[in-house]
């Protein structure tokens, strides 16, 4: 069939852009006050320490200043944000028990099907609350805990949560960590006991349906010594004309000789301010892998941070960002090498078009005692037109003599030489350009589970219908 036109299509969000009516949902008032925080705490039946912690976070938030270094968040007025929206259901352990409209939402997103096919457990959050959580019996039999964090808080793991909750991400670090601490709701708790290898992934999916709402889920993962886990996070929302806010928090504790992989496809709608914080601390001889795709949001601040605390620990980060019209996505990563013989390897890719702005912001810190540590960071950006922007802001702080740090960054357009080379092999110019963009993203997609790689390829859809015009 003759091809008429070639272009790299913007992210296709139709699949996610549907909304449900809120019927009998519970909402707190807009804005952020002490009464609202106490109301959420009461609704969650918090233990006393958690209620006090929320109030302390509120105090920190009210005295903190917005960061001066990132994209503008002037369009986000917290006075208009509803920090807690509870759907008209409790948490179900079977999809049949989830209310029909909410279940339909997750079915359209393919979550139950993914669970049946390829997941060890699924958590599904709708607005501020988990509506579904389940784990395969054989995985549970290994002693793996995968539950909503509120249940865990009141169960036998309550002390473990108290000992870890916001110990990696401190509320004083930035305003949105403090805000999260004050109004957090939902999220998952995962505990993998020593020596347990969770062979198939767990997944949490976050859906924010309510207009003008915030989602503040907290994910706490503890992978004990010699254990192994792959955790997948997905998120989406319908588009509204008012700002929505996502200020979630992920804290991961990886023990010794353990392995953790955290994969994310972030596809919030373009009215979303995604101010998320993720952090992991890694023990001796352990490995952490981040795989991250950022496609949605109006504005993103997203920089998963890794603390390589144990000797011989290592981290790999693979990330791709696609910024289209009206988006400013400030993404990247941070890594701190504390232990000896630690290694980090970072590969970031960004694509921007139609006036989209992509900022790649990274930091590598090698502490004085991190002897024989190595870090290599590569940032590559592809600009598909001249009305877009792509900025790379890497920071490197090395205080150890016996370490090796390398950093490379490259910004540019699709290489004319590469197109020429492919065309000289008989490939049309349209196909050549499409192949190059596809190959550019492949280093990330190949790291994703198959169904997520397919989703990513759908998101960066290459339309091949015609001649270049």
């Amino acid at each position: 069939m003759a091809k008429e036109k070639t272009f790299v299509e913007d992210v296709q969000r139709d699949l996610y852009d549907f909304r449900d009516e809120e019927i009998d949902f519970y909402r707190v008032d807009t804005g952020l006050t002490r009464d609202i925080v106490l109301q959420i705490s009461e609704e969650k039946n918090d233990p006393e320490w958690m209620r006090d912690f929320r109030l302390k976070c509120l105090d920190i938030f009210t005295h903190s200043k917005m960061p001066p270094w990132g994209p503008s968040i002037d369009g986000l007025n917290l006075d208009n944000i509803v920090t807690y929206v509870k759907p008209k259901t409790g948490m179900a352990g079977k999809w049949e028990d989830v209310p029909e409209d909410i279940k339909n939402t997750f079915e359209r997103l393919g979550i139950p099907e993914a669970e049946r096919k390829s997941l060890a457990g699924v958590g599904a959050q709708y607005d501020s609350e988990l509506v579904y959580h389940n784990i395969r019996a054989e995985v549970a039999a290994q002693g793996v805990i995968y539950t909503d964090i509120e249940s865990a808080l009141h169960g036998p793991y309550g002390d473990m949560i108290k000992d870890h909750f916001m110990h990696l991400v401190r509320p004083g670090e930035h305003p949105f960590a403090a805000l999260h601490g004050a109004v957090w709701s939902g999220g998952s708790f995962v505990y993998v006991p020593p020596g347990v290898d969770v062979e198939i992934p767990l997944q949490s999916y976050f859906r924010l349906n309510a207009p003008g709402a915030g989602q503040f889920e907290h994910t706490l993962i503890i992978v004990d010594d010699n254990a192994k886990l792959h955790f997948i996070e997905g998120c989406s929302a319908p588009k509204y004309s008012v700002a929505n806010l996502h200020a979630g928090c992920v804290e991961i504790f990886v023990g010794n000789n353990a392995k953790m992989r955290y994969s994310t496809i972030e596809n919030w709608s373009k009215n979303m301010y995604n101010l998320n914080t993720k952090r992991v601390t890694v023990g001796e001889n352990s490995a952490m892998e981040w795989v991250s795709g950022s496609f949605g949001s109006h504005t993103s601040y997203l920089y998963p941070m890794t603390v390589l605390k144990g000797d011989h620990s290592k981290m790999d980060y693979t990330g791709i960002t696609f910024a289209g019209a009206g988006q400013e996505l400030d993404t990247g990563m941070k890594v701190n090498h504390i232990g000896k013989h630690t290694t980090s390897s970072v590969n970031t890719r960004s694509i921007c078009k139609d006036g989209g702005i992509s900022n790649t912001r990274t930091s590598v810190v090698i502490a004085p005692n991190a002897d024989e540590s190595k870090s290599i960071v590569g940032c590559t950006s592809l600009m598909l037109d001249s009305i877009s922007r792509s900025d790379t802001i890497p920071a490197i702080d090395v205080r150890n003599q016996n370490s090796d740090v390398g950093h490379e960054a490259k910004i540019g357009k699709i290489s004319d030489e590469a197109v020429f080379y492919l065309m000289s092999r008989g490939i049309s110019e349209e196909d050549a350009r499409a192949m190059i963009v596809s190959g550019f993203a492949e280093s990330v997609s190949k790291e994703l589970p198959l169904e997520y790689a397919v989703e990513m390829n759908n998101l960066i859809r290459l339309e091949m219908v015609g001649a270049i015009g």
Partner: protein, 350 residues
């Protein structure tokens, strides 16, 4: 000693996380200074600049608080007429006295097709202390070629601010070399505007920072014209408990088509205890450009050490040898043989 005041300088064009403490530098510096008494050698072909205001609008790299600090400092101006190629460099030499605060400005306006080199050598006795701040503003005409060389070899109590700015017209070339051997604190700034099409610049710096001294660098190159080219390279050696920040920004404005820019840094850490920070930034508002940076921080390559050790050279001596070699590599780029040999000898005797 002079009365001091706090100033903030070398702020990045695009700042990043505050906890990294790299965005800018705040220092105590002499609140006031006096005109220096350098020896100035103005070769044939270089005229006095009648009106230094011609270059006053050229932006420098250290930022507005250094501009304000030097607002009333005397300015010495030079000019080179269109088409004049000056073989001998303009030589400015300072021998700073202990306890002094020197504030001086220079302006250089180079006509179309002209060629000139400006050498600045700022030195003092080893045990001298004081302050010195310099700003050098340069306008490079169409097709002109300007080399600027600034060298610091001051005493262990000196705090030096050396700041330059250049505006480069069509097919003009501006090449800067900054070398800092010593001094308690060195703040280097550079700002280049590649205004005309096919304008180009190179900024190469070398430093040896030791003890508890500080080296703070901020270079910014703005690509406005088409087919412009930038090459920034710094090579340094850090030892003891010194502190160094290297900020560099290549900014491609929309319309700067077919431009290219490259930043590279190579730092050798001689021991633990140093603080070594780097932020090589690329800002890109144009699709049809090529921007790259690379950096290597840390120790010498294993195969190099193996090769030299197999020739009987002890490990410690290898590091000392390579430290000198790094500085010498930058020195050798100075387009004046006499000054180059003088600095090689100085480097060897350190």
């Amino acid at each position: 000693m002079a009365e001091v005041k706090s100033i903030t300088l070398n702020r990045m064009k695009r700042i990043t996380w505050r906890w990294l403490k790299m965005n800018e530098r705040t220092v105590d510096f002499a609140a006031e200074g006096e005109a220096g008494t350098p020896s100035v050698l103005r070769p044939v072909g270089v005229d006095e600049l009648a009106d230094s205001a011609a270059a006053a609008a050229v932006a420098c790299g250290c930022g507005p608080q250094v501009d304000a600090l030097l607002e009333n400092a005397p300015c010495t101006g030079f000019s080179v007429a269109d088409g004049v190629s000056v073989d001998e460099p303009i030589r400015i030499r300072y021998d700073l006295a202990d306890g002094t605060s020197t504030f001086d400005k220079y302006a250089l306006v180079v006509g179309d097709g002209a060629k000139v080199t400006l050498l600045m050598d700022v030195a003092s006795a080893d045990d001298a202390a004081g302050y010195a701040a310099f700003q050098t503003r340069i306008k490079v005409g169409k097709g002109a070629v300007v080399d600027l060389v600034q060298v610091h070899r001051c005493g262990n109590g000196f705090h030096i601010i050396d700041d330059f700015g250049a505006e480069v017209a069509e097919t003009g070339e501006f090449h800067a070399i900054q070398i800092a051997f010593t001094g308690k604190e060195n703040d280097l700034g550079g700002h280049v505007e590649l205004v005309g099409d096919k304008a180009s610049t190179s900024i190469h710096s070398g430093y040896l920072t030791a003890d508890d001294h500080a080296m703070d660098i901020n270079y910014y190159v703005n690509h406005i014209g088409c087919e412009c080219d930038t090459d920034i390279y710094t090579s340094g050696v850090l030892r003891d408990t010194c502190y160094k920040v290297f900020r560099t920004t290549i900014d491609f404005q929309p319309g700067a088509v077919k431009s290219s820019g490259e930043e590279n840094e190579n730092v050798l850490l001689m021991n633990n205890g140093v603080t070594n920070k780097t932020v090589p930034t690329i800002l890109c508002g144009e699709e049809d450009v090529s921007g790259e940076h690379g950096c290597t921080v840390g120790r010498l390559a294993d195969d190099l050490i193996f090769y030299l050790e197999s020739r009987g050279i002890p490990n410690e001596e290898i590091y000392e040898m390579m430290a000198k070699a790094r500085l010498e590599a930058t020195i050798r780029q100075i387009p004046d043989e006499t000054f180059c040999e003088e600095l090689v000898e100085f480097n060897n005797n350190l």
